[in-house]
């Protein structure tokens, strides 16, 4: 992998750094607005908020490997993927706050961000439910012989769901152009992979479907993720599905309801090890190894990210809430809601 990195420009690496710190600040701000914010007009409310803190390199590296006409789809931990794909953070934050200007008009919430114009098909909140949708999108691309492919994020926990079994098999039978990227953070909600999976190496599951066993990459290293996902996407365009893995970690609990995860004494040591492999540190080290005198540039990018997040909050706060007409709109195409 290291040799290929030489072809990446300074501009590209800085661009990725920008996105990674932007997602980190965005998620930290969401955490703050949910737990600490006192002003009800500025609070993020609701029962669900699944932060991507710790997984930014996996999200950014994989999404940057996509071509403009390729597709990406994921589960409910979707904020980072949306931002990496280029969804305006203003609209993402507006969706967090349930505003009319949000990506889903305030009707989807944090788990259901999408931007059809960017081929970002959304976050989905039923574990595994998005997997056949991903295969269906891939089927369309195969049907029209476009050469476009689909990147489908899938959590390690979702591999135990029937949707994965049926979709993996059908995708392989039909040789659909899709990369299943297992975002392996070692835990599904609160249950560890070794407590939930007979086969703890996700990629080995491919064998059962006759599918290509793709690589297992360091999910904390944006460059390694990018190179591997790009190669597998290109392979899938011609040859069919791939199952690959990014080894990553969740610095926060499963969601805002999860107070137990970070309090687990037995995981303290593990968390510390992964925090030392923070995606921001890993990329910073890469950049500094190759380029001198970048401290000011990186600091400026960091400040820029904070400014973007600040603006997104102000945009969201000043946006209107949806109203009754929004409530009853888009139940059907061409038919009124039966209210």
């Amino acid at each position: 992998m290291a040799t290929k990195t030489e072809s990446l420009t300074k501009e590209t690496l800085l661009d990725w750094y920008h996105d990674i710190v932007l997602i980190r600040h965005f998620e930290d701000r969401c955490h703050h607005l949910y737990f600490e914010e006192k002003d009800p007009a500025r609070k993020i409310t609701g029962v669900y908020l699944h932060l991507a803190t710790g997984s930014e390199a996996t999200h950014v590296g994989a999404v940057k490997a996509l071509g403009e006409d390729d597709h990406v789809i994921t589960a409910y931990r979707d904020h980072g993927i949306a931002i990496a794909r280029g969804v305006n953070p203003d609209r993402v934050m507006a969706e967090m706050m349930g505003k009319r200007t949000g990506t889903s008009g305030g009707k989807g919430g944090s788990m259901h961000l999408a931007d059809r114009d960017l081929n970002f098909w959304g976050g989905y909140a039923i574990v595994g439910g998005h997997l056949p949708l991903a295969a269906g999108i891939a089927l369309k691309e195969q049907y029209v012989k476009s050469g476009n492919a689909v990147l489908c994020f899938v959590g390690d926990g979702a591999l135990n769901n029937g949707y994965f079994h049926e979709t993996a098999n059908m995708a392989q039978v039909w040789k659909l152009p899709i990369v299943f990227l297992v975002e392996n953070n070692l835990v599904g909600m609160g249950t560890r992979i070794e407590e939930s999976s007979g086969q703890t190496n996700p990629i080995k599951r491919a064998v059962g479907y006759g599918m290509k066993e793709g690589p297992s990459v360091d999910g904390q290293d944006v460059v390694e993720v990018y190179e591997a996902v790009k190669a597998e996407l290109d392979w899938s365009r011609e040859n069919g599905p791939v199952l690959m893995e990014a080894r990553t970690y969740r610095f926060e609990g499963h969601g805002v309801s999860d107070k137990a995860f970070n309090a687990r004494e037995d995981l303290k040591g593990e968390l510390a090890i992964w925090e030392a492999r923070d995606p921001i540190n890993v990329l910073t080290a890469r950049i500094k190894k190759k380029y001198k005198d970048v401290d000011e540039t990186l600091a400026a990018l960091d400040a820029e990210a904070v400014r973007i997040v600040d603006e997104s909050v102000e945009y969201a706060v000043s946006s209107p809430a949806p109203g009754y007409n929004d409530l009853i709109a888009n139940v059907y195409v061409g038919f009124e809601a039966g209210v």
């Binding site: 009707k107 059809r116 269906g136 999108i137 089927l139 098999n169 888009n330 059907y332 038919f335």
Partner: protein
């Protein structure tokens, strides 16, 4: 004009739409090389090829989910569930995904999907293979649910469904597959959400859909011999539900019997009765009577299976109770 069975009318509808629009393709278990379990897709594999006639593994979640994804991306899939009983395995894909995606993403994404499924009780098919569960599916906003009562309606309704931009569950009563109707040579569509008067009468309104319409019409003929004229409304689409013809009829007859092949609790009949009392209480001369399947799982033995199911005689009896 020629007589076609409902099976062949559906086949003609699918065929015409596949010829008309290359985005239309079909997928399901045994629909291709096997020629379709109910022979609706007979000859399609040979004519359209494996790309557009896609035999699938036995994977109902993936059949519904993959078809949903293909629809989101711009194709117009017609997915077949061999029977509605197996569609229970795909409940999440259809209800939580196909039916919610347009709303959940605020209209950005549309799901022009048709899921066809054979429905209704068969001959001793027993408890797990005898469901007529359209009302359950029709409970959820975002999904359209249709069930034709004859070959003519089947053709026009299926063509309209394939051209529509919403996710649609289209059920086909197994017992009606062989029954013929005259089918015009020229193309016709039956609009979604349009019910129909299938027989005119002034004395009582019988409301039904699917197989129940056949029992209602048979009962109406029997009643006519006693000079009781029943008006029969075929709802055709359980969602969106068109109550206009039912209400108009009820305001004339002031009495109503609802016939459903499905179960009585939280049912089609419950919904029609509730809407009638809300919208036309002042016109009500008798309680709305429901003729439903008995509230038990269906057994194997023919004698008791038939006891559990509605029929024309039970409809006749119910009408006499409301007169």
């Amino acid at each position: 004009m020629k007589n076609l069975s409902m099976r062949d009318a559906l086949r003609a509808a699918l065929h015409e739409e596949m010829v008309r629009d290359e985005r239309v393709f079909i997928m399901g278990e045994e629909i291709g090389k096997w020629q379709g379990t109910h022979r609706v897709t007979r000859g399609f594999y040979e004519e359209f090829g494996a790309e557009r006639v896609r035999d699938t593994p036995i994977s109902e979640m993936a059949i519904a989910g993959v078809a949903t994804g293909a629809a989101m991306a711009g194709l117009r899939p017609v997915a077949e569930m061999m029977t509605i009983n197996f569609a229970f395995l795909a409940f999440d894909a259809i209800i939580n995904h196909a039916a919610k995606i347009h709303y959940m993403f605020n209209g950005q994404i549309t799901v022009p999907l048709v899921v066809r499924a054979a429905t209704g009780w068969g001959n001793q098919a027993t408890a797990t293979h005898s469901h007529t569960p359209e009302p359950i599916w029709a409970h959820f906003p975002g999904l359209i649910v249709g069930c034709p009562s004859n070959a003519y309606d089947a053709k026009g309704m299926l063509k309209a469904a394939i051209r529509d931009d919403n996710p649609i569950l289209f059920t086909e009563v197994i017992a009606l597959y062989p029954k013929p109707s005259p089918i015009p040579d020229e193309e016709y569509l039956i609009p979604i959400g349009e019910s129909a008067i299938k027989r005119e009468g002034d004395d009582v309104t019988i409301v039904s859909y699917g197989r129940g319409v056949e029992w209602a019409l048979e009962a109406a003929e029997t009643l006519a011999k006693e000079d009781i004229q029943a008006e029969v409304v075929d709802i055709r689409w359980l969602r969106p539900l068109d109550m206009s013809k039912t209400l108009e009829s009820f305001k004339k007859t002031n009495r109503c019997v609802v016939v459903e092949e499905s179960l009585p609790h939280y049912s089609f009949g419950s919904e029609i009765a509730a809407q009638l009392q809300e919208a036309a209480f002042d016109y009500m001369d008798a309680p709305v009577k429901r003729v439903s399947a008995l509230d038990v799982p269906l057994p194997y033995a023919r004698e008791i299976e038939l006891m559990a199911l509605p029929n024309a005689a039970k409809v006749v009896q119910a009408v006499k109770e409301v007169l």
